[in-house]
């Protein structure tokens, strides 16, 4: 049997997803046994030209992590789409925008100004900002264009499957790879694989009350955290109710930390952050607008909390330029 032809790529990402693949430990040897790699920038040295030279649909499986932030990300996404039979949005950023997509709460101008003018470590008296093309004596230097908006992978190209997580749980990665390698029947295209079908609360063992009331928000840095009680009952924002199960509860169980929502929205809901906002709003323990405002003000950066990983797919859209 010929080896499975595989590519792994990182677009706007931190590299954590690549590392997560290596986190399957010795099983990586089995993967190597079964797979032939055509692109994996973090681990192997291939050139884009090598991929461009491949016939279309030559690669069996591409695990694409990272969001689409600039013209290079988009170019490679389109390239890998052409060359791959199965394209997987791998990890939160490719799935729903992830951390990079929080930039959609700011305009490109604001971001440039902050990064290249305002930030305390910057000395830039002329206020020079990145240029996509710069004439030099040798000719013209070009760099990719940063987009106004951060996109999830499926907003740029068609995607067969989604493997959520920041990063995806190594056990789930192994299950997915094993399924593909072993030739098991794959779910219908468009499915989220390597994750559960309900919200995280379903498998969470913490005790919950039936009378949740939020009188003010607590924060993990300043609150003693009870390991056995629902975080929402402790006044902490936990995105468990709006987040797909399957992560293995590395936060809520192993680390006693509230869920941050990286496994994305469970089936049947449209907007992870909006759902959480509606849920939290409904248990705020006040009637008068002024009292409600005071309670809400105890949690800075509401949008960041509720859309930490899903801003690309938020109904909020983006900050107008």
């Amino acid at each position: 049997m010929s080896k499975l032809k595989v590519a792994v790529y990182w677009a706007a990402s931190c590299g954590g997803c690549d590392v997560a693949i290596l986190d399957i430990h010795e099983k990586v040897l089995a993967v190597n046994e079964a797979c032939e790699f055509f692109l994996w920038p973090i681990a192997m040295d291939f050139k884009y030209a090598d991929v461009e030279a491949l016939p279309d649909k030559h690669i069996d499986l591409t695990l694409f992590n990272g969001a689409i932030r600039n013209s290079e990300n988009k170019h490679i996404a389109e390239l890998l789409r052409r060359k791959s039979k199965v394209l997987v949005a791998f990890g939160s950023c490719a799935h729903t925008g992830g951390i990079p997509a929080l930039a959609n709460l700011y305009s490109k101008d604001q971001i440039f100004h902050r990064a290249y003018v305002e930030s305390p470590s910057t000395v830039n008296p002329q206020g020079t900002l990145p240029q996509t093309a710069t004439p030099v004596t040798e000719g013209e230097l070009t760099i990719p264009t940063m987009f106004d908006h951060v996109y999830s992978l499926d907003q740029v190209v068609d995607v067969e499957y989604y493997v959520p997580g920041c990063p995806p749980n190594p056990e789930r990665i192994w299950e997915v790879l094993f399924a593909v390698v072993s030739g098991a029947t794959l779910p219908p295209p468009g499915s989220v694989i390597g994750a559960g079908e309900r919200a995280l609360c379903d498998s969470c063992g913490r005790k919950r009350t039936e009378d949740k009331r939020i009188t003010g928000f607590n924060r993990v840095a300043t609150t003693p955290l009870d390991p056995d009680i629902c975080f929402l009952d402790q006044g902490l924002i936990c995105l468990g109710p709006v987040t797909r199960d399957g992560c293995g509860q590395q936060c809520v169980k192993a680390s006693n930390m509230p869920c941050r929502g990286c496994y994305g929205l469970p089936p049947g809901i449209t907007d992870q952050g909006a759902k959480m906002i509606a849920a939290v709003a409904s248990v705020i323990d006040a009637r008068e607008p002024e009292d409600i405002r005071k309670i809400v003000a105890t949690l800075p950066d509401q949008a960041g909390y509720y859309y930490r990983f899903s801003m690309s797919q938020s109904m909020l859209g983006r900050k107008k330029a």
Partner: protein, 654 residues
């Protein structure tokens, strides 16, 4: 019947109500190209019998399985068209209405804009109806008991009417006695009946009626449930007197050494710290004013206790809560007189002989502070009195509206002044408003009695005399708009006739989820055709809480509200909403967020399956759980995300 949507769209002209502004032909034509639409028509009056029959015929001959009517508010005719669908064998919930009258033609001037809006609203209805499901309604029993909130003449009349029918009434009044404003008036216009003489028999009837539970010193604290099945919590304030033991002998009141201004007499007389507000109070048993009582303030005294033979004084009494179950609620919370700054503008609080209408009523009352003799602050009887209409009324700075009763009660004052003192009376009015049985005749009578009726709003009341005649008197400065002259009228006494205001401190509207208008008065369901109903089914309005009105109108409305409550009780069942919530057991992750949020206690937690479950008998389909449910398991039928997004996309033509 095929599951593929086969939609019929009907755009109503509503005569010229809609068609005069909206291009109905264009709306119908636009809808014809929407997916699933089999036919799209417009017609003069969809609600007429031919209109309904058109729907029925089309369902039968074209195999329609969905119907959209773009017409008036669903409050008006949803039932009509649902009935037509049902008749033709289509589930009533496959019908959707687009409101292009109240929401569009009546409020949009530009024809092009109105037409575009009608298209958007109708398209939204068409898009959402595609995903409708057939739903069933259920019947729920109605409790026979009725709650009446407020014990003025409105509440008294409503309570008696219901009680006389044999049904039980809970009458809740926050003051220690029933009677309300009417108990404080001297005479009533235009018949000049003694107010107390006609009211107290009714008060006594309430106090002794076997079908009335009278709850004075009580306030409604919480209302849950829905039409036919309200659960109400009533807070009983501590009275510090055990009314079961008290015989009402009055020894305690006599012995009490504390005197404070009487609220009942507008502070013109004193009452004790243990008191009954007035001699004919019902219940005629005293309460202790904790803030005034020496024992509560210093820990010493207890004189009342010493002289109470039946040992009814109960200093240890605590506030308590009682829960009652009723099928209908009648709101009769009344009004308060306008007390704003327009009063001080005319010298009230600054000149002792400038008094308000209510002070005048008490001064004239035989059981009032002066035993019915109209006296000035120094005890003299006035030789001339000015009565100023519209204090705070018909004025954009204060209350824009006319309070309807002030002209008439001011004319009554003129009569009483003439009758009792023979003094000269000057009435200053903006317009004389005397519509009502015998009212215009009363107006003529007062004129004939010699009162000077001057058309003109008073500019100011001052004591700055400019000639010897004005010295030591109040000068009313006004314009006589009929004679076109400026007037300075020196008088001994000025009576201010303020308008009626809504209760500013009342939480009743909020508790009942009833809307109030910009002036704070309850909004009736329809200003003409449903004047005692509210938008909350099973809650009815009586008296001035709905808007200023006189006693005859109040009594008529109270009887109407009672009749509405009784109609509900007699029918015995209500049709319960088919658009309830449901929780998908395959999706629910058991976060428990929804359980306590349900206002109808319809959600419970199944500990075996670890999921939330909706009891559909209790569910009213309010959608609170669906909004709160983070995982999308709880959904309100027909308000699922798919319907809402369909509707939004329809409006935006996406």
């Amino acid at each position: 019947m095929s599951h593929e949507p086969r939609i019929g769209v009907y755009v109503c002209h509503c005569g010229v109500n809609i068609a005069g502004v909206v291009d109905v032909k264009r709306v119908a034509a636009e809808m014809a190209s929407e997916a699933g639409v089999v036919l799209s028509r417009e017609y003069k009056f969809m609600c007429s019998t031919p209109g309904q029959e058109m729907i029925i015929d089309d369902i039968q001959s074209h195999g329609l399985n969905r119907v959209v009517v773009a017409a008036c508010s669903p409050r008006m005719h949803e039932g009509t068209f649902q009935g037509a669908c049902r008749k033709a064998g289509v589930n009533a919930y496959f019908f959707q209405m687009a409101n292009i009258r109240e929401h569009d033609s009546w409020v949009t001037l530009d024809k092009e804009e109105a037409t575009r809006k009608a298209i958007a609203l109708t398209r939204a209805a068409v898009r959402r109806v595609r995903n409708h499901e057939p739903l069933e309604t259920r019947q729920v029993e109605v409790r026979k008991e009725v709650l009446v909130i407020g014990g003025g003449i409105a509440g008294i009349e409503a309570a008696l009417t219901v009680a006389e029918s044999g049904n039980h009434v809970y009458l809740v009044e926050r003051e220690p006695t029933i009677g309300g404003h009417m108990a404080r008036f001297d005479k009533t216009f235009p018949t000049l009946d003694c107010s107390a003489c006609i009211l107290t028999p009714k008060m006594n009837a309430v106090g002794s009626h076997p079908n009335i539970t009278l709850m004075t010193s009580c306030e409604v604290e919480e209302v849950k449930g829905f039409v036919g099945n309200f659960d109400v919590k009533v807070k009983r304030k501590a009275r510090y007197v055990d009314h079961d033991k008290c015989t009402g002998c009055g020894a305690c009141v006599e012995k009490c050494p504390v005197k404070v201004p009487s609220e009942f007499d507008e502070g013109l007389s004193k009452r004790k710290a243990i008191y009954t507000p007035f001699p004919q109070a019902v219940p005629n048993k005293p309460v202790i004013d904790r803030a005034a009582c020496t024992y509560f303030r210093t820990g010493k005294c207890r004189l009342c206790e010493r002289f109470c033979e039946p040992k009814a004084i109960a200093f240890e009494q605590q506030e308590s809560t009682q829960e009652i179950q009723v099928g209908a609620i009648i709101v009769a919370t009344g009004f308060e007189f306008y007390r704003g700054e327009a009063l001080s503008w005319y010298g009230h609080g600054r000149y002792p002989n400038v008094i308000t209408a209510l002070e005048f009523e008490r001064l004239n009352n035989a059981s009032g502070p002066t035993e019915g003799v109209l006296r000035m602050a120094d005890g003299r009887v006035p030789q001339s009195v000015a009565i100023l209409h519209c204090i705070g009324s018909r004025d954009k700075n204060y209350q824009e509206y006319c309070s309807r009763v002030c002209c008439m009660y001011s004319l009554k004052f003129a009569h009483l002044v003439k009758e009792k003192t023979g003094a000269e009376v000057f009435e200053f009015y903006i317009d004389m408003r005397s519509p009502g049985k015998g009212y215009e005749e009363f107006h003529d009578r007062i004129r004939e009695e010699g009162a000077h009726l001057i058309r003109g709003k008073v500019g100011e009341v001052t004591d700055l005399a400019v000639n010897p005649e004005e010295q030591g008197r109040l000068i009313v400065v006004a314009e006589d708009t009929l004679a076109g002259s400026r007037l300075r009228v020196p008088v001994d006494m000025v009576v201010l006739s303020p308008g009626l205001s809504a209760h500013r401190d009342s939480k009743v509207a909020q508790l009942l989820k009833c809307a109030v208008d910009k002036n704070g008065f309850f909004i009736e369901k329809h200003p003409k055709l449903a004047p005692v109903d509210t938008a909350t089914d099973g809650v009815f309005l009586a008296g001035c809480c709905q808007g200023p009105k006189d006693i005859p109108d109040t009594v008529a409305q109270s009887q109407a509200a009672a009749a509405k409550a009784l109609a509900l009780a007699t029918r015995g069942v209500v049709e319960a909403e088919g658009r309830t919530a449901c929780i998908d057991p395959e999706v629910c992750a058991g976060c428990k967020l929804c359980v306590s949020l349900c206002p109808y206690k319809a959600i419970s937690f199944d500990t075996a399956k670890e999921i939330s479950v909706v009891n559909e008998v209790l569910c009213k389909g309010c959608g609170t759980c669906a909004a709160a449910c983070p995982s999308g398991a709880a959904q309100a039928r027909h308000f699922k995300d798919v319907h809402i997004f369909n509707e939004i996309e329809g409006v935006l033509a996406l």
